[in-house]
């Protein structure tokens, strides 16, 4: 740990002794996890069901707060932010992709994608331009006025990725992004994520899929009962 200051600037994520206990008395869902993720890195988080992967991701995303420990993301300490400040932080600095897409079914594809940009302060016109670019990049711009309920799983996940990227977040988080997709579609989404990383996107990926993790992630982190068990080979980004 010679260049501590330099590391701070390079690290998009920094966890210091993070513990999350949902109910007093119950074993923690995440226990004393410390880890760093550097800018431009792809890290896969693996582990058995109930080992705390989603919990860890939610803590990094600012969707939840740790019981103990510090969470620093994109250079900001977020474990002590207010709800409102956390919401603003989420809107600007992280993009999240979920297993079940979490699209708003009563909004068009375009509105789904541009909403976070509007939340981050873009005008509707600016947000539409940006959404159009991203939908084109995901290969689904012809669906921009459709409603998500009429699209396939793979297409919906592309909408969700476009939505997560609309504010060009420092960090992209994905919780089992291929979990609800068939193998072929899952691989397409995997390739898309790898391409994003090649373009410089920092990415943390929770997955059950060992193949996906090995093929696309430079580093793998194992969680067992909420604790870091083992880190895979670290390849410089």
């Amino acid at each position: 740990m010679s260049g501590d200051v330099i590391r701070l600037e390079r690290d998009v994520i920094r966890l210091d002794g993070v513990t999350k206990t949902y109910q007093a008395g119950a074993p923690p869902a995440v226990a004393e996890v410390s880890m760093n993720v550097a800018a431009g890195e792809v890290v896969a988080v693996m582990g058995p069901s109930g080992s705390g992967k989603s919990t860890l991701l939610n803590l990094i995303a600012g969707l939840d707060r740790p019981t103990v420990g510090r969470v620093t993301v994109a250079g900001r300490r977020i474990d002590n932010l207010s709800e409102t400040a956390l919401a603003r932080f989420r809107a600007r600095h992280v993009g999240i992709i979920f297993q079940f897409f979490n699209l708003l079914d009563d909004l068009t594809v375009e509105d789904n994608v541009l909403l976070p940009a509007q939340l981050a302060g873009a005008s509707r016109r600016q947000a539409r331009v940006r959404a159009g670019e991203l939908l084109a990049r995901m290969g689904i711009d012809r669906y921009r006025n459709e409603y998500p309920a009429r699209m396939s799983g793979g297409q919906r996940q592309r909408v969700a990725i476009a939505r997560a990227l609309v504010n060009a977040p420092e960090l992209l988080l994905a919780d089992e992004p291929t979990g609800a997709l068939d193998t072929a579609t899952g691989q397409e989404i995997g390739k898309l994520l790898r391409q994003l990383n090649r373009d410089g996107q920092t990415l943390v990926l929770v997955t059950h899929d060992r193949a996906l993790a090995e093929r696309y992630a430079a580093r793998t982190v194992q969680l067992v009962d909420g604790q870091l068990a083992h880190s895979g080979a670290e390849v410089p980004a």
Binding site: A39, G40, N58, A61, L63, D64, E83, T84, A87, R88, F89, R90, A91, R92, I96, F98, F100, N102, L103, L104, D106, L107, D111, L114, L115, P116, A117, Q118, L119, A120, G121, A122, S123, R124, Q126, R130, R163, V166, N167, A168, E170, D199, G200, Q201
Partner: protein, 491 residues
């Protein structure tokens, strides 16, 4: 950094607010896709607001209109009938200076005569001679036509158009029992809150009728410093008759009897009216609370997603209130308007039941509209605010989870018991489901119970009230006739 360059430029605050709102508009943009929900919320609020407004109207109408009219008209605490042969006008005038008297009017000559209307007997009427309806005591309210300005004209006490076969403006009232059976033209209708007379003519007309053989008499109208009970009124009347020669006072009518007579019908209705009003109000609150909190629960998943995208708690609240709020507000406003329209006939009915003239209706109607509106808007806002606040505080992760699958564990015991009853599976699930949300189930049950009570009430009320009113009318007419005939027979 190789992060693509997307930085939304900072703008001045009016534009920042515009963008804040634009984001919320996008987030709620699905309103058009939720027409049914909007219509249901709007209709529920319309109906419950209308019934609550009607309830408020009934409560308001029931709120002592006699007292209101009595003080507005400076009603007479006591109307004293005097024998003018024994009491000189100067002696009568002297009574106005008595210790307990705060205001007095008269003497007004009276003629108590049998009458006919359109060839039919119209009963014995006491006609008082007054040059004008106003005065310091018993400020009579003219509800139609004009005050008699020459002999041969009469204004009758009562509602303006009592209906088929009743007296009408321009009709002719024939005076019987006096020489020549003179005819009087009905020129208007008026109301005296304490019913000091059955009709009013010019003072000259009274003198003429007395000259033709009508029993002579006069009335003095008093207000006293203390006249709250029958005992106090007895003392007041004793003081007046003590100041006059013996036998001068032939009768005295107190305002308390008038109050009893005029609120008689209202007294029967009062508990029903209050019950209806309360049912309306309680149902409105229950239903609004239930619908709004139901809408929150239904949108848990959505709220969770919006939060995960970065909507702040305040934005979630505004977005949520916007979505529920517009149809709710529209329903509320329409309900207040509808409630007021429904209330107008009820109010005018109640005003005529109380026999206190028409001046009540515009007064209440004008107060009711804004008051009802305010009360119900506040009510709805309160009912909606709780769930909206909860929506704002909800954790995104939990909201998404709760929205996707119903919470497990809740009502689990009930489900297990239902399963053991060997009922068909759907019945078992249906029986146990309410236990998963006991509070909402209780609220729904209460609303249904109140609704059923109201319906039963409405059916029962009609017949029983009709019967009760009938018996009231019979018992009420008897003392009136005795009072009118008593003094004439005695002297």
């Amino acid at each position: 950094m190789n992060r693509p360059d997307v930085n939304w430029p900072d703008v001045n605050w009016p534009r920042a607010i515009a963008r804040w709102l634009a984001a919320i508009r996008t987030a709620t943009g699905g309103l058009r896709r939720h027409k049914l929900q909007a219509i249901v919320i709007g209709m529920v609020l319309l109906v419950s607001t209308a019934s609550a407004t009607l309830g408020l109207a009934l409560l308001a109408a029931n709120n002592a209109p006699f007292q209101h009219a009595f003080s507005a008209q400076h009603g007479a605490h006591v109307a004293v009938t005097v024998n003018t042969a024994r009491a000189r006008p100067a002696a009568l005038a002297a009574t106005t200076g008595l210790h307990g008297v705060t205001a007095a009017a008269g003497p007004f000559g009276t003629a108590t005569v049998p009458t006919q209307l359109g060839g039919q007997a119209f009963g014995q009427l006491t006609l008082a001679g007054r040059a004008s309806p106003g005065g310091p005591v018993d400020d009579v309210v003219l509800s139609a036509g004009h005050w008699p300005d020459c002999p041969g004209q009469v204004v009758l006490d009562g509602p303006a158009n009592p209906g088929q076969g009743g007296p009408q403006t321009g009709g002719t009232l024939t005076i019987r029992g006096v020489r020549g059976s003179p005819a009087l033209t009905i020129v208007g209708f008026a109301n005296s809150v304490t019913n000091t007379a059955d009709g009013w003519v010019t003072p000259g007309e009274v003198t003429r009728l007395q000259g033709l053989g009508a029993p002579a008499g006069a009335q003095m109208l008093y207000r006293f410093a203390s006249a709250g009970s029958f005992a106090q009124i007895r003392a007041d009347v004793t003081e007046v008759s003590g100041a006059l020669p013996t036998g001068a006072v032939t009768g005295a009518a107190s305002w308390l009897s008038a109050e009893n007579a005029s609120t008689g019908n209202g007294a029967i209705m009062e508990p029903f009216v209050v019950a209806f009003a309360l049912i309306g109000l309680i149902m409105a609150v229950l239903i609004v609370g239930n619908v709004v909190s139901g809408a929150v629960v239904a949108s848990y998943y959505r709220i969770g997603v919006l939060k995960s995208l970065g909507l702040t708690p305040a934005q979630v609240m505004v977005a949520y209130l916007g979505r529920i709020g517009w149809p709710a507000l529209a329903g509320c406003l329409a309900g207040v308007v509808a409630g007021n329209f429904l209330a107008i006939p009820v109010l005018s009915d109640s005003a005529s039941v109380y026999g206190v003239g028409r001046q009540q209706v515009p007064w209440w109607a004008s107060v009711l509209a804004p008051a009802g509106m305010l009360a119900l808007t506040a009510l709805t806002a309160l009912a909606a605010l709780g769930p909206a606040l909860r929506a704002g505080r909800l954790s995104a992760v939990q909201a998404i989870a709760a929205g996707r699958a119903p919470r497990t564990g809740r009502g689990y015991a009930a489900h297990r018991i239902a399963a053991r009853l060997r009922l068909p599976r759907p019945v078992g699930i249906g029986l146990a489901a309410p236990f998963a949300r006991p509070a909402r189930t209780a609220v729904s049950l209460a609303a249904i119970a109140f609704g059923a009570t109201a319906v039963i009430f409405a059916f029962g009320l009609n017949s029983s009230l009709g019967r009760a009113a009938q018996s009231q009318t019979h018992s009420a007419t008897v003392p009136v006739q005795i009072q009118q005939n008593g003094p004439a027979r005695a002297r």
